[in-house]
């Protein structure tokens, strides 16, 4: 017994400060007193009712489980098509496309900057022909597809729409998501092409077009994931993401759209990190803040405009290259937090993702993790099981308060675009990530297998290798495409796109025409670059 006592938290332990992984102070015990002024009627409500703290739907997962949506993409379109079919056969319920870097930046595979990058971090898409191959044998009116594309979102989406059209599907029956959240690109992920203001115009054109023609499409997935992965705290992730959302709604309203016509198609995407309760509180707070903001700031009346519908992904940044099997446990805990937080869809990371793209075995294990939570844990049986916990409600309140302080600061700067131009969110994230790295060095925060419980020799893992054959085959495909298409038509379509960009016409129609003519992604982006210019990030120290 004596030996055991040594390890139990005693008087010394209480001298340590206890904080969440984001550095948020945590008390020894939470009681009724912490919730003084808390009004369950006002601050919680019922699930499916304002302010939606307890969930966006009345019976939550009893009605429908969250969508299990694994992000996938590598190599050529044909390779990823096989991975999609593999995942669908194993019970995945929605598709999610990862594009390679050249595609995200609007370069064709044979562009000099694409060297070494083709098909490596996602699938290579150069033209409509690749998009048709990507979804070969998959009916686009029968699945929902999420596409992680931002700067060239209008073009990639147009390729998807034309592919569906060629399959005989009606655009009104299509459902899915384009990420299309350019603000967080300047803040965190950095896959921008054009400067902020023309980028916002493209997004408004997408909102107009979708509202009229593809009404079930989720037009912007306002994303905190990349903000968190870039090193922010949970509160910064929450605040910057929701403030980005406010910025889009403000621009939409200013562009003449009825808030209740487009706000229901906005959705959110959050990172689920290691700190269990902090993450649950973050999702609960996100729903409450968004519902309140949509009423307070925009006078939204359609209840669907108030819903913060959430896609979550477990935190890639939390995975470790050391002792990679530990990642399975991290992902399971994070996935459970996402479900307890009331997510609408979820991607669970694979254990080998700090090393490479996941293998089939590891992606299956990640999917199984979700299925075990869904079918074995009993957690989905009731809505918001942690509602009413002194601790969780206090954390949720504190998240909302801290978030509103950030809103105030950003409003004072003139809005999110102005804040980005001043480097404000970028600097906040840089500071937070540096503080965290220092805390790890000093062992104030522990990561198992990295700065504690370290093992010297570790057996190597089998990882997925992408070879150069994709690069060569994409270049050959492009050569054949350019030789075989009606190049006069392509030129005319590109010229029309350039004219539209120079004026104020909606860009979606000329983009769709370019896509139908088999103009390449790089050609379309070049036409837009020639008008809008390219964004260069100022360096903020």
């Amino acid at each position: 017994m004596k030996a055991l006592d040594k390890d139990l938290p005693g008087p010394q332990a209480t001298e340590r400060t206890f904080t969440t992984i984001s550095g948020f102070p945590i008390k020894e015990l939470y009681t009724e007193e912490d919730l003084a002024g808390f009004d369950p009627q006002r601050d919680l409500g019922e699930p499916g009712e304002f302010p939606y703290t307890r969930g966006v739907y009345r019976n939550m997962y009893r009605g429908r489980l969250w969508t299990m949506r694994q992000f996938a993409g590598f190599g050529a379109a044909e390779d990823t098509n096989l991975r999609f079919k593999y995942l669908l056969e194993r019970g995945q319920t929605g598709l999610s496309v990862a594009f390679d870097y050249p595609t995200l930046f609007g370069y064709d595979s044979d562009h000099p900057l694409s060297y070494g990058e083709v098909g490596r971090c996602g699938v290579a898409i150069d033209s409509l022909a690749d998009m048709e191959a990507l979804f070969h044998g998959i009916r686009l009116d029968q699945v929902t597809t999420s596409m992680t594309t931002n700067a060239p979102a209008a073009i990639i989406w147009a390729m998807y729409l034309v592919t569906a059209e060629k399959q005989g599907a009606n655009w009104k029956d299509l459902s899915g998501t384009i990420q299309n959240d350019i603000l967080k690109e300047y803040i965190a992920q950095k896959t921008y092409i054009f400067p902020p203001r023309p980028s916002m115009r493209i997004i408004m054109d997408i909102l107009h077009f979708a509202t009229a023609n593809v009404p079930r499409w989720n037009t912007i997935s306002i994303s905190g994931y990349h903000i968190r992965e870039a090193g922010s705290t949970a509160i910064q992730e929450l605040a910057f993401t929701l403030r980005d959302g406010i910025e889009y709604v403000e621009h939409g309203v200013r562009a003449g759209l009825d808030v209740d016509a487009f706000a229901p198609r906005l959705s959110f995407f959050f990172d689920i990190h290691n700190d269990f309760f902090e993450e649950i509180a973050k999702l609960r707070a996100a729903r409450r803040i968004w519902a309140r903001v949509m009423q307070e700031r925009f006078g939204a009346r359609n209840p669907r405009s108030l819903l913060c519908r959430i896609h979550s992904q477990t935190a890639g940044v939390s995975l470790t290259a050391q002792q990679p099997y530990n990642n399975v446990v991290r992902v399971a805990i994070q996935a459970l937090a996402a479900v307890l937080g009331g997510t609408q869809s979820l991607h669970t990371n694979s254990l080998d993702e700090t090393l490479a793209l996941p293998t089939e075995q590891s992606v299956t294990l990640a999917l199984r993790t979700q299925q075990i939570i869904a079918y074995e844990s009993g957690v989905p049986n009731t809505a918001d099981p942690l509602g009413g916990s002194y601790f969780v409600e206090t954390l949720t309140n504190e998240m909302e308060n801290s978030c509103r302080e950030y809103f105030k600061r950003i409003d004072e700067m003139g809005g999110m675009i102005e804040a980005i131009e001043r480097g404000y969110p970028q600097r906040e994230i840089q500071d937070a990530s540096y503080q965290f790295a220092r805390a790890l060095d000093r062992k104030e925060k522990i990561i198992v297998g990295v700065n504690e419980f370290v093992m010297e020799e570790e057996p190597p893992m089998d990882i997925l290798v992408i070879d150069d054959s994709v690069f060569h085959s994409q270049c050959a495909k492009l050569k054949k495409l350019r030789a075989g298409r009606d190049n006069a038509r392509v030129e005319a379509c590109l010229a029309q796109l350039q004219r539209a960009a120079d004026g104020t016409d909606n860009l979606m129609s000329p983009i769709l025409e370019c896509v139908r003519s088999y103009a390449t992604l790089g050609e379309m982006c070049d036409a837009l670059r020639s008008v809008f210019g390219e964004y260069r990030e100022p360096l903020f120290d």
Partner: protein
């Protein structure tokens, strides 16, 4: 005469925008008293080597997470040799599988720091190696 400050170029080749690591390293080296120049994102091998030359860097830290390191690092090292800059210490970090490390060391990259490396370890490595190289050169 006070000891000349160590000058380090922190560079991001490749198309990925994951700059958390590069910025943390830049700041840690700066806090340790070095002069650090950060190139910003998406630099070609030519741009990186030119910057190292212009800035008279003692060391170049490369950070890449896109998986293109086996294409871009050899090109950078080739340019380093062509410009007779073998006295510049080159080290790297990011998502670099173990199996690639021997080949990268072979072409002259002094050390690869995988995810989870401590800041202290990286700072000490740069300090020790640059000082050692300076002693060797002056003797």
């Amino acid at each position: 005469m006070p000891e000349q400050k160590i000058r380090v170029l922190v560079a991001k080749p490749g198309l990925d925008g994951h700059d958390r690591g590069a910025k943390i390293i830049a700041r840690a080296l700066r806090d340790a008293g070095m002069e650090v120049i950060y190139t910003g994102l998406r630099q070609t091998p030519e741009q990186i080597v030119n910057a190292a030359l212009q800035e008279d860097a003692d060391a170049v830290g490369l950070s890449i997470l896109s998986g293109a390191h086996m294409h871009l690092f050899p090109r950078i090292m080739q340019l380093i040799h062509e410009n007779h800059m073998e006295d510049v210490l080159v080290f790297a970090g990011g998502i670099i599988p173990d199996k690639d490390i021997p080949e990268l060391k072979e072409i002259g990259i002094a050390e690869i720091f995988p995810p989870g490396s401590s800041l202290e370890e990286i700072v000490k490595f740069v300090q020790d190696r640059v000082k050692k190289d300076r002693v060797l050169r002056s003797s």
